[in-house]
Structures are given as structure tokens and as C-alpha cells.
């Protein structure tokens, strides 16, 4: 099954469950509180996911390692390499 299909199945399942509870499609006679809580759930989940995404990406950008040491080391090694290659006869 492709990821797209997995998502479609998952979303359909959630939406069907939500509709059944919110609109009492199966005449389950659930308590009013169930319906009141279920009704805003899709929007609530979307907004929560949006906040989670922003927070996660923001955190990851803020903690993205800046490899200063690696850059310095590379510059030094480039000098060393050029010198060594020159000695070995490389003509650049």
C-alpha cells in the first residue's frame, strides 16, 4: 500500500468515526458530552498538528549544529594537501 493510500485510509477512518459520533449516524444515543467533545476534534487536531510542526521545525532550526571546527579543519587540510601534492608533482 502506498503512503498516500495509508493516509487516505487513516483519514477516512477518523472522519467516519467523528461523523458517527458527532451526528449520531448509528443512533447510538451517546451522552451529549461525547458529541460536544467530538464535534470540534478535526479542527482541533489540525491546529494542534500545525502548532507541533511549527514548534518542531523551529526547535530543529535553532539547534542546527554550525560546524565551525569542521570548516577550519578543512581549510587547514586544503593548505596541507596543496603543498603535499605540489611536492608530488601535481600541476594545478
Amino acid at each position: 500500500m502506498t503512503k498516500l493510500l495509508e493516509w487516505l485510509f487513516g483519514v477516512s477512518f477518523v472522519l467516519v468515526a467523528w461523523a458517527v459520533v458527532s451526528f449520531d449516524l448509528l443512533d447510538l444515543s451517546l451522552p451529549q458530552t461525547y458529541r460536544e467533545v467530538a464535534w470540534p476534534m478535526p479542527l482541533y487536531l489540525l491546529v494542534s498538528f500545525g502548532c507541533y510542526s511549527l514548534a518542531t521545525v523551529g526547535y530543529r532550526v535553532a539547534t542546527f549544529n554550525d560546524c565551525e571546527e569542521a570548516a577550519k579543519e578543512l581549510q587547514e587540510q586544503i593548505k596541507e594537501a596543496k603543498e603535499d601534492l605540489r611536492k608530488k608533482g601535481l600541476k594545478m
Binding site: 503512503k3 498516500l4 530543529r60 542546527f64 549544529n65 560546524c67 570548516a71 601534492l85 594545478m92
Partner: protein, 244 residues
Amino acid sequence: IIHKGPRNDKYSVLLPTYNERENLPLIVWLLVKYFGESGYNYEIIVIDDGSPDGTLEIAEQLQKIYGEDKILLRPREKKLGLGTAYIHGIKHATGNFIFIMDADLSHHPKFIPEFIEKQKEGNYDLVSGTRYQGNGGVYGWDLRRKLISRGANFLTQVLLRPGASDLTGSFRLYKKKVLESLVERCVSKGYVFQMEMIVRARQLNYTIGEVPISFVDRVYGESKLGGNEIVSFVKGLLTLFATT
């Protein structure tokens, strides 16, 4: 601690090049240094796509310096793309393991022993260098670039749940047979090609190990990430989402 592998392990490094006259000698020097120190058996296969700047000529000089058994030249007439470069390189590789990496010094050979040890640790089918975990990271990226990178990676994780932290990275170690079977299945281009390799690897139940790496962006200049690249990335991601 340096672990010397069994005598019959050999590592082929594929270096597709296009206009890398300046960088090629340096990356080769570093590869020779770190492989030499580690004691592992290796070869470097330079796949030049008809570079107009004389990359091939420099490669020939390097071959004279380091030997034809260590530096193999397998050039092509013109720029033909990464997937076919790998296929071409694999045909001539005598190693049972293959390293793929960039020739522009953004990937540092000092991580090679870590890749090898990681692979042995779990007998992984492939080991992927990651900029996003552990002490992996990047040098030379501004805030915009970091934001795009992390944002794109987050989207990829949500949509594809790939089981690897860095999908667009191209510093990897593969078992030769694994690389062969993946390359023939992958159809995308550019960044998405590297992503597709990992996704297909998961589909085929190959095991993936990770090594944090530092990525030094463009020693000699700046690489830009334009609107076009972003659009083609999103298109490629959605294609993978819908087809795998």
C-alpha cells in the same frame, strides 16, 4: 580504536565529477590519507562527465601520483546524471562495498572509518550520513537555508516515515549488491533520487545505519537553493508519496 576488517573487504569510492578541477585533487588527497591511516582496502573511481575545465586531465595526473590500482578513471562524454553515473561506476568497481559522496569537499573523508565501523556493527545494508542527528551539522548555511532544509525534512518525515533522518544526503556506504538493486529501481532526479534510494531500501527491507556528519557547504563559493529546486523537490516528494 582502528578495526581492520577481514582481508577480503574492499571499498570502492564513486566520485561523479563535473567541473571539479580545483576540488578533485583535494578530495583524493583526503581519501588517500584517511583510507591509508585506517588500513582498509580501497579504490577511487572518478566518473567525469566531459568537464570542460580539465577535470579529467587533473585526474590523470592524480592517477600517475597514486597509481592506477587506486585511482580509476571511467569518464563519460557529457553530463548524464547521477543515477547512470552510479550504474557506470558500479560496473567497474572491484570492491564489495561502495561509498558515494560529493567531490566538492562538502563531505569529509574523515568520516569514512566511522561509516565502515557502523556498517560492521550492525551488518547494515546501507549506512547514511546524517546532518540532522547527533553532532551532525552544517557549515555555511544562513537562516533561510536552514529553515528550508528542516522544513523540507519535516514534511518528508511526515509523509514518507522513512526510518532515516537525512533523506537528501548523498554521503553513504552501500553493500555493492544493495546499491545495484536500488539504482535500477530508482527513477527520480536530483535530491529526490537520493530520497527514493532510501525509500526503496525500506521497501526491500534493507537495514539502514546512520552516522552523523558535518557538511561544509562550498568551500570556494556559495550554493543557492532557488525556487525551481524547491518546486521540483515538492513534486518529487509528492510523487514518492503517491507511488511508494
